[in-house]
Symmetry: C2
Subunit: 430 residues, 2 copies
């Protein structure tokens, strides 16, 4: 165990450079923690000449990460390229085939192919580690897989995308509409030029798929996740949420059901006193319920060079110390093929916002429609008439089933007095 | 690695019984996670005949835990007796001498003798694990030692005693005085019959000493901690804190200074928006600042059979998988003898509450005293006269040094117009 630990780093974007900086800053500290020194033996990126703010002259350079995986002879291969297909995937496969441990920050790759890659790593007797793929610097994979190893996890929920949480937090604090705040987030670098993956919930779903596998011991099943993003969350919804004692958060949620797991990502209203409601701005947070430990929460920065590098290096230290763990907590052959339930199985509370004509009998029409769909109203807010002759009506329901709500929304949309598509946000009593 | 993992359990109180229950409930799950089955080969407690709600008939019984440590031949010795001396300490020493790994929930033992026991375990090439000693079920030892291994931790603070947090939370919610709420907490089982260790801050300090060692890589130094408990926190202080935008929490805090670390436990005012302020009731929370990861927070239940058993079993799973780690993150020989700074070095904000005679010139006397001690007043609250002819005066200071405040408090106490011992609470801008 006293020889030098050799690393090959593929991908020198924000995260790759962050890792170089961390390894340089903490050379001695890491030697003490690993019991041996760490040496970078090779690096790879698309453009060697790009100015990255750090020198890469001292390392053997590869233009092709797959070639590096095959030839570098490094003990650990760091895959920091990104993307679920192409170079990232091929390089991980090649590294495992060459007998290297793989550390990756790539949530899309693990969400789409994690079970397969883990099986290959297991067969080759090497580690596949991905702490950095979920919730940035928060050691939540380690917490779920090792820290809560004495528990059967019954449910988890998390704020897994800092961009969306920043947008929703800013909308609440300023009262401004989604488009405005998104544009500002792009200017500030909190949102990408093409923000689709973030705001449509795909990024959060990648992370949820990974968390679900680790926490519930089932194969990664990204396709089983119901996904809705935050595009349709209006400033009005956020104001009503505050009035009703809620915060709106883009949540990834998984809970055990009688026959499987129910995984979903959508904007939800959570009580203002819930632990997850206090996670604001670019922060991420994950709450897990274990049958012995009860409720635990893990919070921190979900993205950025420093936090992500912190998670990557934690995986490196684990491997340096020979601290091996089955990738998803149990051997891949034992991971269950737990069926993913349809969201139609959800039972819970709902918020509905309608814009209606301000005429006699409108409320009766709405109430009748809901009654016919077997939905019981918990509270209603109706504001004074606007100049337009239309008024907003906001309802919250008692516990009801998703399928019933979907039917009711469709019927409400057909009412002549309902002049805009009804908006619905699920309420999570967590 | 496929042979059965054998355990000997010393101590069958709340925690010991919780561990028995967890092991029974999750037999198959733990076999999958450990790669081998777990078998309890021996147990020890003072009274064999006591009804514990679970049967201990199937296990070899020892009246003496030291004898069990010497003779059971178990691979892991679970020390769940408690106390820093006597049977607990002797049994751990004996177990290590016999070549067993030791898992303990004993914060007093690790706080007082952790460095020594760790050195012995290291020499014997066995693990010493104590996740359950700090913050109950929250895997905070693992998070600091492994999850943040890529960081230099610059500071940490935590709510480490659920009894105190329950009392302070309830005082705020109900406006009731300390003695009242303590009595209720005793009735509810949230406080011990003799609550001294909890409410005087000793229990929190035990845990802080351990966290400091793991996070800062120094020898455990309980004696270096400045400790104040919550006995003197009055209902008025809590009401003023709320008015000023703060919560009062019993915090354990360690920060790096230029020449060492400054460790302390005391009731502090924290901004109502700080992450730690949201940790309420019997919950514990730990916030760590790492130079790469930024701020991370870990929250959960800090005590009780289930959470503590969860932490104990997490350590067992680590050992079962051969996941070894230097006890405090680096080899004991490399732990620094970092000097503990005196609290006089603290620089920060302060809250002062005085009860004064309502006569002309009193405020001038107070202001002059503070000016002479070089203390600058940030805000002052003076209420209308009471029937008694005395009025409370509440002050907050700008940044100042602890030594100056102590001098000022002593001078204020000597003023004729100040009719009660001045109360001071430190404000932590975290």
């Amino acid at each position: 165990m006293n020889k030098t630990l050799s690393l090959a780093i593929a991908g020198l974007g924000t995260v790759g450079v962050g890792v170089l900086e961390l390894l340089a800053a903490h050379r001695d500290l890491l030697s003490a923690r690993c019991g041996r020194s760490i040496e970078i033996v090779a690096v790879s990126a698309r453009d060697r000449s790009r100015d990255r703010g750090v020198s890469v002259d001292g390392y053997k350079w590869f233009d092709d990460p797959v070639e590096m995986a095959e030839e570098s002879g490094a003990e650990i291969f760091l895959e920091l390229i990104g993307g679920s297909e192409g170079a990232a995937r091929d390089a991980c496969d090649a590294a495992i085939a060459a007998g290297a441990h793989v550390v990756t920050a790539n949530k899309a790759l693990i969400a789409m192919h994690g079970s397969d890659i883990a099986a290959r790593a297991e067969a080759a007797n090497v580690s596949l580690a991905f702490e950095a793929a979920v919730a940035g610097g928060i050691p939540v994979i380690k917490a779920l897989r090792e820290g809560l190893a004495g528990n059967r996890v019954t449910s988890l929920h998390g704020i897994l995308n800092g961009t969306c949480n920043y947008i929703l937090t800013t909308m609440r604090e300023t009262g401004r509409p989604f488009e405005d705040v998104l544009a500002e987030a792009q200017t500030l670098g909190y949102a990408e030029a093409d923000p689709t993956f973030d705001i449509d919930g795909v990024d959060a779903a990648h992370k949820l798929a990974i968390l679900t596998s680790v926490a519930f011991g089932c194969k990664v099943n990204f396709d089983g996740i119901h996904i809705e993003g935050i595009r349709h969350v209006a400033a009005e919804d956020i104001a009503y949420a505050t009035e009703l004692g809620y915060r709106i958060k883009l949540l990834g949620i998984t809970e055990r059901t009688k026959t499987g797991v129910l995984q979903r990502v959508y904007p939800a209203m959570v009580p203002v006193g819930a632990p997850i409601a206090a996670v604001e701005g670019v922060y991420n947070g994950v709450v897990a319920e274990g049958d012995f430990v009860g409720t635990t929460m893990f919070e921190g920065r979900g993205a950025g060079a420093g936090p992500t590098a912190s998670a990557v290096v934690a995986d490196v230290v684990d491997i340096a110390l020979g601290r091996n763990t089955p990738t998803f907590g149990i051997p891949t052959g034992s991971l269950s093929q737990t069926p993913s339930q349809s969201l139609n199985e959800r039972v819970g509370l709902y918020y509905i916002r309608l814009m209606v004509q301000d005429t006699t009998g409108v409320f009766a029409d709405i109430a009748t429609t809901l009654r016919d769909a077997n939905i019981s109203i918990e509270s209603a807010i109706q504001r004074a008439r606007t100049d337009s002759g239309f008024v907003p009506v906001v309802l919250t329901t008692h516990e009801t089933q998703e399928a019933a709500i979907q039917e009711a929304l469709s019927l409400l949309n057909k009412l002549e007095s309902v002049v805009e598509t009804p908006r619905m946000i699920r309420i999570e009593s967590i």
